[in-house]
């Protein structure tokens, strides 16, 4: 159904979840909403509730404490959903990889659709990652 895929590509709503990161990636993600980068041009809106979201943007190495909440929020996002791992911590745990309280990397817990490398990735990199994710064929 091309109209449905067109609609999904044109209005990807984002839910941001920080699993213990240093919030460098979070301020870059929020910076992407502001006039200099303005992701609303692509229809991307930051949503408050997991129920309204299509893409789960996760930043930070998964600390042991937040693992259950992450899984819980992941289950609350309705299908069809995608997961973006933003930042080196989300991809592999970066400097905190071998700490005792960190799972290191989102893909140990969830199926990740797109990785945005960088510590922190610049807003342009995050937008580029999202654009590639949206145009990726199922």
């Amino acid at each position: 159904m091309s109209i449905r895929n067109w609609a999904r590509a044109k209005s990807p709503w984002l839910l941001h979840f920080n699993t213990g990161g240093c919030n460098g990636c979070d301020i870059e993600l929020v910076a992407a909403l502001t006039p200099t980068f303005d992701v609303e041009r692509f229809g991307i809106k930051l949503q408050g509730s997991p129920r309204h979201a299509d893409i789960l943007a996760v930043t930070g190495p998964v600390t042991v404490q937040i693992k259950d909440r992450l899984m819980r929020v992941y289950e609350q996002v309705p299908e069809p959903k995608k997961v973006v791992a933003i930042g080196a911590c989300a991809i592999s745990g970066a400097p905190f990889k071998d700490c005792y309280n960190v799972y290191g990397g989102i893909d140990t817990l969830l199926h990740v659709d797109a990785y945005v490398p960088g510590c922190p990735p610049k807003p342009e990199a995050i937008i580029d990652g999202l654009a590639k994710l949206i145009s990726k064929k199922e």
Binding site: T63, V64, Q65, C99, Y100, V102
Partner: protein
């Protein structure tokens, strides 16, 4: 510099024979080590006479057989006075100072969780920052466990 000397004399006066050593490595930094029991009695005078009104934090270090507690105070935001004492590792109990310094309620809880020191009289020593499923009795900042072992315990959950 003269303020540091004045504080040093004050400390020597308050702790007198209980003072193990005192050093002033650079400007506005004073480190004093005292015997175990003497700190709590001297605290009211420390706050009133030496005017150490702001407790920056409490640092706990595992020295093998003993645990060293360092209380970092500042005197109106400039000189940092650190008073420390050692407690035996097998029975690490200390009296709390939250009755005199309410700000210490947080720092004592971290030391309790990370090093296993329990503070008598502390209003609420519930678990804090370690994940809920962290097993009792394992204190990450103690040196008796190798780093990889800790990693195992953490990620097993």
């Amino acid at each position: 510099m003269e303020r540091d000397n004045e504080i040093t004399q004050n400390l020597q006066l308050i702790f007198s024979n209980k003072l193990i050593e005192i050093k002033n490595p650079r400007m506005r930094r004073i480190f004093a080590r005292v015997e175990m029991g003497s700190f709590k009695e001297a605290l009211p005078r420390l706050i009133s006479d030496v005017k150490l009104n702001h407790l920056v934090t409490i640092t706990g270090t595992d020295l093998g057989q003993e645990i060293e507690l360092l209380y970092h105070f500042t005197r109106d935001g400039s000189t940092v006075v650190t008073v420390g004492f050692k407690i035996p590792k097998d029975s690490p109990t200390v009296k709390t100072i939250t009755d005199l310094v309410p700000a210490a309620i947080l720092y004592e809880r971290e030391i309790h969780e990370m090093l296993g020191v329990n503070f008598e009289g502390h209003p609420n020593l519930a678990p804090l920052i370690l994940p809920e499923q962290w097993p009792e009795g394992i204190y990450p900042l103690r040196k008796d466990r190798k780093f990889e072992e800790l990693r195992e315990i953490g990620s097993k959950k």
